[in-house]
Symmetry: C2
């Protein structure tokens, strides 16, 4: 009986692919076992439980997103950086809807603190260095940008905008324009 060569890493990676194909909700230990043509119980040597798998996929997604964002930000500043950053989120969600859904998983505080989520916040802050904001306005702005990107992408992904004209492409660039304008003229309290 040949061994399948399972490792936690391979399982999480395959789980991420599965998520993109059938949706994050449908990712199950059973489905994953089927994919490796292996009995379900075998996976429990590599995964603590089902939640462990989902968390693993979420962490992978956060990492991939942060890597892409870091790459996109290199050598850019101001509005250029803002647009590049925004596009990374949107493109990733379109290419990997299951992984993106995974990245929204609620992590317990320790896991979250050790995740690539921290890098995301740092990069957002780096973008804001191109605008003239002082604390605590910078923090407010970090949260605004996070909200807009996450909110827009998840509404678009969920089909929230699909019924109406004009197309979402145009809206996306206009929203980035608007955010840039807002950050350059951030209102005093």
């Amino acid at each position: 009986m040949a061994r399948a060569g399972l490792t936690t890493e391979r399982l999480v990676r395959a789980g991420a692919e599965l998520a993109d194909e059938v949706g994050f909700e449908q990712v199950t230990v059973s489905a994953l076992a089927r994919r490796f043509d292996v009995k379900v119980a075998s996976l429990y040597s590599h995964l603590k439980n089902s939640q462990d798998l989902k968390t693993g996929i979420a962490l992978l997604a956060l990492e991939e997103l942060a890597d892409r964002a870091a790459h996109a930000l290199a050598g850019r500043a101001g509005k250029d950086a803002l647009a590049a950053f925004a596009n990374v989120y949107r493109d990733y969600a379109r290419e990997h809807p299951g992984r993106y859904a995974a990245a929204q998983l609620r992590l317990d505080p320790q896991t979250a603190a050790a995740s690539a989520g921290v890098r995301h916040a740092q990069m957002t802050r780096a973008i804001l260095r191109g605008y003239d904001l002082t604390e605590p306005d910078q923090t407010h702005a970090v949260r605004l940008l996070g909200s807009v990107f996450h909110g827009y992408v998840s509404l678009e992904l969920g089909g929230g905008f699909s019924h109406s004209a004009p197309d979402t492409e145009e809206t996306w660039t206009r929203i980035v324009d608007a955010l840039d304008a807002l950050l350059r003229n951030w209102p005093a309290p």
Copy 2:
């Protein structure tokens, strides 16, 4: 054997309460049957299937949210209306996290079109009448507002902001201020 007096309406309503108590993910036909002290199969006379229950909760949540928003908007305009609208979302999500999560459920196009989701879009447009935007900028702005409110609330609910100072209360009002400023000075293409 006394009858429990089940109806689809009562089941959906109880499902919504269950969602708020244990989380929308944990809402299951079995748990609902337990709550009514009734056998699981009995619920299938009133619900087509498990998805049907979840959809019902989502529609209920959308309706409740729209009702609250309509009430809050009555007699207000401009920034006042914007802030009231925003607070409805945030407060509802805090009071009814399970229902709010349900409202994010992806509905099939027909169900979505018949849902209270349409009223939400109409109300957002009504708020924008207080600002000087023409089509298609109004549509872009509708989408921006939807993104910010949804994004902010779901990040806050998911604990995304919980680690850092300053507190989210302050951020929320500053974001509403910022949106108001942005809508009054919406950048030309």
